[in-house]
């Protein structure tokens, strides 16, 4: 192992800050450290008192690419934009909103904002602070800043690209100059984002009065941002399913599957915390129903295209409007919860193949946290997939990917996968650091990977898992493995909360609250807290409970204390 960079005791910081910095530094990769040095230099430069006129030669105009990422897409785009900008002659740097304040950005001259919207119109959790500071009354002014916003979102949600829109409006309101119209991208963002980035960079160059403003650098989306694996979203690896087991008991009210994939020959070098993506296939019965509703039943070629290439469930607002125009169905009201089939059956109309396809988005990949470590199972990746099924508007609905895997795949079949790194959800680099893993349901997947990794490495840090589900007897995912890890001392502590075993619902946050003294002691010992799983209810409740515990036990402002942990990289979430 290479020696870790350490600040000397003589560094111009109080000793506790030296300790803190060393702790952070010890958990960084070479890449992270070089980025950090560049970043600090950049911030220094941006905030330097010199006027713009005395900046470095104009050919190296500074460009800040500020990203707000949740799942990593915005970050990957920012990285591509940085490279493209570099080729255009910018001195570009990509900055995570998690790492800066608006004041630190105020000195920048050229700014690209790439922002994802999460859930029901929320900013990504890593960008919450920046977002709040920017929206605050005391936000800095941005006169002289030229900017443009690329917004990522999902048209299935009402507040599509809300975060990007808010950033765009706010920068303008705070005096910045918008140099390109905001683009709002759906799940199939790649091509549109590429074109827009080219255009935006070109305009920025033109604004700077550069001679070769017309040059266009094409972003190469065929290559994964990390350039680690040669397989990518555009070119997935056909992995064989070597194990396909329903972990949920036969009487469970849930349906969760353990899937083992062979990655032999793929060279997919995932790390614990990373996800695998794959493009699922649609339910053939639903494809048939959609085709029948559109008057296109029996078209085998179209059936195949719909099965493999198009999202046949999500009904976006533009698609609805399009259908109303096509079918002259003015007065038709879009109902909450409608999918494509509901629309087609509510106002039946014979469609041409082209018309039908114009209503559908490309089928997007789905991502699942990897539940294994390569150090424990080389050439394999394990996934934990809960089949999503529910009734709505009188119709049984299925999660596209989860039910595809649960029902239509079996051992020996293939799954076309690619790696999606999650650099913001990694084990501490320090093997001695204790960790608390809060992962109910399928949220436990990355923690199985964490434990395999720490077990394989012989890491000595203590590990505490908080697991939850509905019923102890039927839903205790990987129970025998946790027992084994406890017995061998790899797992130091396990707490559980099963919501439906007793009259009062018990969730992981209740288990945390019950263990608050010990939890606080772990935090004081330097523990990192990880949360994975449901974003809507669980992650929010756990967040609030952690704040309460820090307040109760630490005697101060719990919210600030948790925020401090987050900023130290000791409160990490992967929620969905």
């Amino acid at each position: 192992m290479p020696s870790l960079p350490l600040l000397p005791e003589t560094a111009p910081f109080p000793s506790e800050q030296i300790l803190a910095l060393n702790r952070i530094m010890s958990g960084t990769s070479v890449e992270q450290r070089s980025w950090l040095s560049g970043f600090l230099a950049g911030v220094q430069a941006a905030n330097a008192p010199q006027p713009v006129a005395s900046a470095p030669p104009a050919r190296r105009a500074p460009l800040t690419i500020l990203f707000a990422t949740e799942s990593g897409n915005a970050e990957a785009l920012a990285d591509l934009a940085r490279k493209a900008a570099g080729k255009l002659g910018f001195a570009a740097r990509a900055v995570d909103m998690a790492d800066v304040t608006p004041a630190q950005v105020a000195g920048a001259q050229n700014l690209l904002v790439i922002a994802s919207t999460w859930g029901e119109g929320d900013p990504p959790q890593r960008a919450i602070d920046f977002h709040a500071a920017l929206m605050a009354d005391d936000a800095p002014r941005f006169e002289g800043l030229r900017y443009a916003v690329l917004a990522l979102g999902d048209r299935a949600y009402v507040k599509f690209c809300e975060t990007g829109r808010l950033f765009d409006e706010r920068f303008a309101a705070l005096g910045a100059t918008r140099v390109a119209e905001r683009i709002e991208c759906d799940l199939d963002y790649e091509a549109a984002a590429n074109t827009w980035i080219d255009g935006a960079l070109t305009v920025l160059r033109a604004e700077l009065g550069e001679p070769d403003a017309g040059a266009v650098i094409h972003v190469d989306f065929a290559r994964a941002p990390a350039e680690a694996a040669s397989y990518s979203r555009a070119r997935p690896f056909e992995a064989e399913i070597t194990e396909h087991v329903r972990l949920s008991g036969s009487r469970s009210s849930s349906d969760t599957w353990h899937v083992e994939l062979s990655l032999e020959g793929a060279g997919i070098e995932y790390e614990p915390g990373d996800s695998l993506g794959f493009v699922p296939g649609n339910d053939p019965a639903l494809v048939e129903t959609v085709l029948a509703a559109a008057g296109l039943a029996g078209d085998r070629q179209l059936h195949r295209r719909l099965s493999e290439q198009f999202d046949i469930t999500t009904l976006t607002a533009p698609a609805f409007d399009q259908y109303v125009r096509l079918t002259d169905a003015a007065g038709l009201l879009r109902q909450e919860g409608w999918q494509v089939i509901d629309l087609l059956e509510a106002a039946p109309h014979r469609l041409s193949e082209e018309q039908l396809l114009s209503l559908l988005r490309p089928l997007a990949p789905r991502y699942y946290s990897i539940a294994s470590s390569r150090k424990s199972v080389p050439d394999e990746a394990h996934l934990l997939i809960a089949a999503v099924r529910y009734q709505s508007l009188g119709r049984a609905r299925n999660g596209v990917a989860s039910v595809d895997v649960a029902e239509r795949r079996k051992t020996g079949d293939g799954l076309r996968v690619f790696l999606k790194p999650n650099p913001h959800f990694r084990l501490p680099a320090d093997p001695e650091r204790p960790i608390v893993m809060i992962g109910p349901g399928t949220g436990v997947a990355p923690f199985r990977a964490f434990m395999q990794e720490r077990d394989a490495l012989g890491a000595r840090g203590r590990n505490w898992l908080v697991f939850g589900h509905r019923n102890y007897t039927h839903d205790f995912l990987y129970q025998l493995e946790w027992q084994d890890l406890l017995k061998r001392g790899v797992l130091s502590r396990l707490d559980v909360a099963f919501s439906r075993d007793q009259p009062e619902n018990r969730y992981v946050q209740h288990a945390l609250w019950d263990a608050q003294r010990e939890l606080f002691a772990w935090v004081q010992d330097g523990a990192s807290i990880y949360v994975c799983g449901d974003a809507n209810a669980m992650a929010k409740d756990v967040h609030a409970t952690l704040q309460r515990i820090l307040a109760e036990q630490g005697g101060g402002d719990g919210a600030a204390a948790l925020d401090a942990l987050r900023r130290e990289g000791r409160y990490l979430r992967d929620v969905y």
Partner: protein, 588 residues
């Protein structure tokens, strides 16, 4: 303590004097001795969330607290592949001397079953309630709920005196009060004195200190094996008084109970393939006064405590102690400890060992309804909503709920003016439908999926088998005849199968031994008639006998007596003859 034991000399008939037992004690003896009076590491085990089980030694100790660790055997096959341990669940058994509950206690029990268990109540042949399917995280709350209802589960299992059962006949209010009172008195006297139950389940365990505990009757190793007491009141033998370590037969004169015949050495359990294990009907030793009864119970316990086999748990019950010692030496030891001799036994006569269903008015004017509960399982079926119906009756707040040794329920002491209300509830929940002769005399143990000992189905299978047999009986005109049929999933005998006219004991899935010739009044055991038969063979074996019985029985002759008179089976005259006198093809 020197462990004494009566040894057999030369492996033959004779019994030599007391000698020192050289064999090592069974593992359970060490567990008990080192348990700090039944505490073990149960409390610590309850905090271990990764497993639904408890440590192995603690599994033995929880029995003394009325709690069994089981697992859902229906799920066993799938668990390993799903990376889960066995589906562990606990059974908790109440201690209810005489089986008498208040309506409020019934409602509490039902709530515990719904909130902490599998939603059903299981009435047992020991006049108590079993809660099934309690997972570990709910166990303490379940027991606290029981404690809140002024009940407990102490000594409902384990090597101690179990729940004392007693004749149910509230319609003879004074006699019933006396036998129920004696059941409660014996139960209380023989209750372990350890505070462990309260500490572990209710108050939380003391860390250190506390007074040194003692078990004046049991000592720190308790009994060699379980110990059971039953009190009968002729002419009913509903408790099967000969099936228990200690039986008391109330002798009534002019409406007063003047004393009890003492019966010792009964027990049902045996092990397949081990002929030196056998069920046994107890022997009548003599007669004692009501005032002496508790003392007699205590001294029978202490003789068994000191002379019972502590090396081999399969030979540890009192019945084997008496077989080994001989009845007279046992009586002498008992009387030596009592300091008085038992009087000669009084005459008694039993008529049956069943429950009579329906309404009866008592001598004080109150009404009592004996409700058929098939195999003791209280749950709602679409046409027979037992759980809901009994809930509704209990909310009336009148009378008492008395669990019978035949797993039925007596709604007792209903004031005359409330009978109509109770009747209406029974009717609206489908609980007043008539039950035919075989079914109303059928008993099954719990067996699969919860009992760890079961070799075959019992509770889940007997109703179907009875339906098939009843169809045949109907054709033969025997539909309303009372014939006792009892099934257990293993040979340990929880449903007292060896005292039925037709006994069925599980051997392996779907396969049973068929026993015939038990007496209708529970005074004679049955005997093996067919080995390893399935449902079809059981029906095929019984139907010709039913046909013969219908044609050739004498007036009032019972089926169990008929098959002996007709020469189909030899009578079993005692436990040590249970495996003898078999048909040639059945002899080992």
């Amino acid at each position: 303590m020197v462990r004494r034991r009566w040894m057999r000399c030369g492996g033959k008939e004779g019994i030599c004097a007391m000698s020192i037992d050289q064999r090592p004690p069974s593992a359970n003896e060490g567990i008990k001795a080192n348990s700090r009076f039944l505490r073990g590491t149960i409390s610590e085990g309850l905090t271990r969330v990764e497993t639904g089980a408890l440590a192995e030694n603690d599994q033995q100790l929880t029995k003394f607290h009325g709690i069994y660790l089981q697992d859902d055997r229906d799920l066993r096959a799938e668990r390993g592949r799903k990376k889960m341990e066995k589906a562990f669940i606990f059974m908790a058994r109440l201690r209810v001397p005489g089986g008498v509950l208040t309506p409020a206690q019934w409602l509490a029990a039902e709530t515990i079953a719904r909130e902490r268990g599998n939603g059903t109540l299981r009435l047992t042949t020991r006049q108590t309630i079993q809660f099934h399917g309690i997972i570990k995280s709910n166990l303490r709350q379940a027991i606290r709920g029981i404690n809140d209802a002024l009940l407990d589960t102490i000594a409902a299992c384990g090597d101690v005196n179990r729940n004392v059962i007693a004749r149910v006949n509230p319609w003879q209010s004074r006699a019933h009060a006396e036998v129920a009172g004696l059941a409660a008195a014996i139960g209380a006297h023989l209750l372990p004195k350890s505070r462990a139950w309260h500490e572990i389940w209710i108050d939380g365990e003391k860390v250190t200190g506390g007074e040194e505990e003692d078990e004046p009757i049991y000592g720190r190793t308790y009994m060699p094996r379980k110990f059971k007491v039953a009190i009968a009141l002729p002419p009913s033998n509903d408790v099967d008084v000969f099936a228990h370590d200690l039986g008391l037969i109330a002798i009534e004169q002019n409406g007063r109970i003047v004393g009890y015949n003492v019966v010792a050495g009964g027990g049902m359990g045996m092990t397949h393939g081990e002929p030196d294990t056998f069920p046994r009907t107890g022997d009548v030793l003599g007669f004692c006064s009501p005032e002496q009864a508790v003392d007699v119970a205590e001294k029978v316990v202490t003789v068994q405590r000191d002379f019972g086999d502590r090396s081999d748990r399969k030979h540890a019950r009192l019945k084997y102690t008496i077989e080994r010692m001989g009845l007279e030496p046992f009586r002498l030891e008992l009387e030596r400890r009592l300091g008085f001799g038992l009087a000669p036994a009084r005459a008694f006569a039993f008529g049956d060992n069943r429950d009579r269903l329906g309404w009866v008015q008592g001598d004080n004017g109150a009404w009592h309804f004996t409700l058929f509960v098939e195999n003791g399982r209280v749950r709602d079926a679409p046409d027979r909503r037992l759980l809901s119906g009994l809930h509704a009756v209990a909310t009336l707040g009148v009378g008492r709920f008395i669990i019978t040794p035949n797993q039925n329920l007596v709604l007792a002491d209903i004031p005359p003016e409330r009978r109509a209300a109770v009747e209406a509830l029974l009717r609206s929940h489908g609980l007043d439908a008539p039950v035919r002769g075989l079914r109303r005399n059928a008993l099954a143990c719990v067996a699969l999926p919860t009992c760890g000992l079961a070799l075959a189905e019992s509770e889940r299978y007997l109703p179907d088998l009875v339906t098939r047999l009843e169809d045949e009986l109907e054709r033969l005109g025997l539909a309303e005849d009372d014939i006792t049929i009892r099934m257990t999933g293993c040979p340990n005998g929880c449903a007292r199968p060896y005292l039925a006219e037709i006994g069925l004991v599980g051997r392996s899935p779907g396969v049973y031994n068929l026993y015939l010739g038990g007496a209708f009044d529970g005074t004679r055991m049955n005997k093996l008639y067919r080995r390893d038969v399935d449902g079809d063979a059981i029906v095929a074996s019984l139907v010709p006998l039913f046909r013969e019985y219908a044609e050739h029985r004498s007036a009032g002759e019972r089926f169990g007596d008929y098959v002996i008179r007709a020469g189909h089976i030899r009578p079993t005259t005692g436990g040590n003859r249970f495996h003898l006198d078999l048909a040639a093809e059945l002899r080992p």
